[in-house]
């Protein structure tokens, strides 16, 4: 009954009228952010972090607000996927496969409500899974020494590179870019600057928020300039929205299975939400067989990836909270949020600051319910927001990013750096080099090096120490398999391409 007592503690933290209000605001804002084409969960949350920071909210309130935005954006992402055929982020791609055909067939309202319910089921089950699994994983994590942590970080980069990209070398390069940037700044043990090129502004290192906002938000601006904002108008008519009870009932097993698959995929460090929605969709597709009609706009094809996607988002919180290793781009941004709030995720978080963990879990549950209640009746309002033209939206987002980063340090240097990251992000995405490993590298680089250095100090420079325990050997094997295996599986597991009109 530990869980119930903890949950009681969590709700005690998260259920005050003020935080409840923050949760509602966050959910509303998040859904809008997710629904707007060109803004996904990662860049939406990233832009808001500096602003939340300067608002001076305390840790719990900030956490409640941002997790609501995070979950809201996951919900909102499906609106642009279904109505515009534009996935807000990578995992939402699978939703477009059946959601857009369904909307074109005149069932846009049904698809939106069904996917909302599927999101709810996936996220709810994943949060329950998180409650059951995370505390026991946190106990295992106490066995981790520096060698194990080093292997774990490596595993995160390897699986991320292996599963989430099409080219291993490019994923590895992306991770190296991030790690390399993380090394810049004053070295903690010697107190001497490293790799700053003598630039005083770099002595503090590169703030990951600058990198995240640049890579995600500013880069988006360049993409819109390239395309002149085309492709962001609605070609689908949404008439009366009803609740399609029959479809919801018929897809109940699909939702449950997809939630399970998504949750497990989300737990894998580094693999994250894209893998979750992909596996959920493919599993359901093979269960339904060729007669299932997947890809032509069937309800199951909408429910499966949405449940999987949201379950994976919850699952990704398990390694993030217990080990400090995020499983996806958005959890990486959430990790960044925790770090700005001076909360270090890891096994000690569960014992030392239970109110943060359980407050977070409680706020996830609250956000979930709020979102379901908000999304079904208010879906028409959110659809209206899609009408905001790109020529107002993108300059607006850019200016908000500037103000956010400017309010962090008040220095022009961070702003210029952010523009630089924007340009870098544009070229990386053009060349199909994933940007999430860059973010992870900047976030985790310091910890990864720290683990390596402590391991080397403990063992007096003996490299074999890195492979000295069963856990670390297991992690190394998993890392190598996770990196190499997708090369051979790629011909078997083809990612379905987005459909075009």
């Amino acid at each position: 009954m530990d869980i119930l007592a903890n949950l009681y503690l969590g709700f005690g933290v998260a259920l005050s009228p003020y935080t409840l209000m923050l949760a509602v605001c966050g959910c509303f804002l998040g859904t809008i952010i997710g629904a707007l084409p060109g803004l996904g969960p990662s860049n939406g949350v990233a832009i808001l972090i500096p602003i939340t920071f300067t608002l001076g909210l305390d840790a719990t309130s900030a956490l409640v607000l941002m997790t609501s935005v995070y979950y809201g954006a996951m919900y909102g992402g499906r609106i642009s996927s279904i109505l515009l055929n534009i996935p807000g982020d990578e995992p939402a791609l699978m939703t477009t496969l059946d959601g857009y055909p369904m909307a074109k067939a005149g069932r846009a309202g049904d698809a939106l409500v069904l996917s909302g319910v599927a999101s709810f089921v996936g996220a709810l089950l994943a949060t329950v899974g998180l409650m059951l699994l995370a505390p026991s994983l946190a106990r295992v994590a106490f066995l981790f020494g520096p060698a194990e942590y080093f292997a774990l970080y490596l595993l995160a980069f390897c699986t991320l590179g292996g599963m989430a990209s099409n080219n291993q070398a490019k994923a590895a390069l992306a991770a190296c870019i991030g790690l390399g940037i993380a090394m810049i700044g004053v070295d903690q043990s010697s107190g001497l600057p490293r790799l700053t090129g003598g630039n005083l502004h770099l002595y503090d290192g590169v703030d990951f928020l600058v990198a995240i906002v640049g890579l995600f938000a500013i880069a988006e601006l360049f993409f819109f300039i390239e395309s002149h904002g085309k492709g962001s108008s609605i070609g689908v008519i949404l008439d009366k929205v009803r609740v399609p009870w029959r479809d919801i009932w018929n897809t109940k097993w699909t939702m449950l299975r997809a939630s399970g698959v998504g949750f497990v995929a989300g737990i894998l460090p580094g693999a994250g939400a894209s893998l979750g929605s992909f596996l959920a969709y493919m599993t359901e597709k093979s269960i339904a067989g060729p007669k299932g009609g997947f890809g032509t706009g069937v309800p199951k094809g909408v429910a499966a990836p949405e449940a999987g996607n949201n379950a994976a988002a919850g699952g990704a919180l398990v390694p993030m909270l217990t080990l400090g290793v995020p499983g996806s781009g958005t959890t990486a941004v959430l990790l960044a949020l925790l770090m700005t709030l001076n909360i270090t995720p890891g096994p000690t978080l569960f014992t030392e600051r239970p109110e943060v963990v359980w407050g977070l879990i409680a706020s996830l549950l609250i956000a979930n319910v709020v979102l379901l209640l908000m999304n079904v009746p208010m879906v028409k309002i959110f659809v209206k927001i899609l009408m905001v033209p790109a020529w107002i939206l993108l300059p607006g987002v850019t200016m908000i990013s500037f103000v956010g980063i400017y309010s962090l340090s008040g220095s022009y240097f961070d702003l210029l750096l952010m523009i630089g990251f924007g340009v870098l992000g544009y070229f990386l995405r053009k060349l199909d080099i994933p940007t999430v490993p860059v973010i992870l590298g900047i976030l985790l680089g310091g910890n990864m090096e720290d683990a390596l250095r402590r391991a080397m100090t403990l063992s007096d420079g003996d490299v074999m120490y890195l492979f000295s325990s069963p856990i670390s050997i297991g992690l190394w094997v998993a890392a190598i398999v996770g990196f190499v295996a997708p090369m051979f599986l790629r011909s078997v597991l083809r990612k379905p391409q987005a459909i075009t009109d």
């Binding site: 002149h228 300059p395 400017y406």
Partner: protein
């Protein structure tokens, strides 16, 4: 093909330079001789190997934008950079009108909507940040001296600024 090769070459050179810089990292008694250098050198090595793979096994070229789009991208970068350095000496309102207006024009080249979105975003966001969110370090406008203005702009000019 060519894009990957060029990018791989650039990152290869960067990686080698990074390794070279890493070997020059200053150390002292507290940090030990090789520990501060170890991880950066490892990163550089992995990056160099990945770059070589990109050079020798390139993917097909992406769809680069039409050649007419490059100048407007360059203008966008320049506008953002100027905006970044002028935000402090000129305050929020005036630079934002221009920056937001120009960016809006580049996404959708129509004068009137661009002007309106510049004005609207500038005033609207200022009210949002200053009064709704209470961000402290945003100032509506400042009247700078010529010397301060030159100071700000000169940041962007290589070898002149600081």
């Amino acid at each position: 093909m060519a894009s990957d090769r060029i990018f791989g070459l650039i990152t290869l050179i960067t990686a080698v330079a990074y390794i070279a810089a890493a070997t020059q990292i200053q150390t002292n008694f507290f940090s030990g001789e090789y520990l501060p250098k170890l991880f950066p050198i490892m990163i550089g090595a992995v990056a160099a190997i990945s770059s070589l793979v990109m050079v020798f096994k390139p993917d097909p070229d992406p769809d680069w934008p039409a050649s007419g789009t490059w100048p407007s991208m360059a203008i966008a970068v320049l506008v953002l950079a100027v905006y970044a350095v002028l935000l402090k000496p000129l305050g929020f309102l005036l630079p934002t009108v221009f920056a937001a207006g120009i960016l809006s024009y580049q996404i959708s080249p129509r004068i009137l909507p661009a002007v309106l979105s510049g004005l609207g975003l500038s005033v609207g966001l200022f009210v949002l940040f200053k009064y709704a969110l209470g961000l402290g370090n945003i100032v509506a406008y400042r009247i700078p001296t010529a010397a301060k203005l030159w100071d700000a702009i000169s940041i962007l000019i290589p070898f002149v600024g600081h």
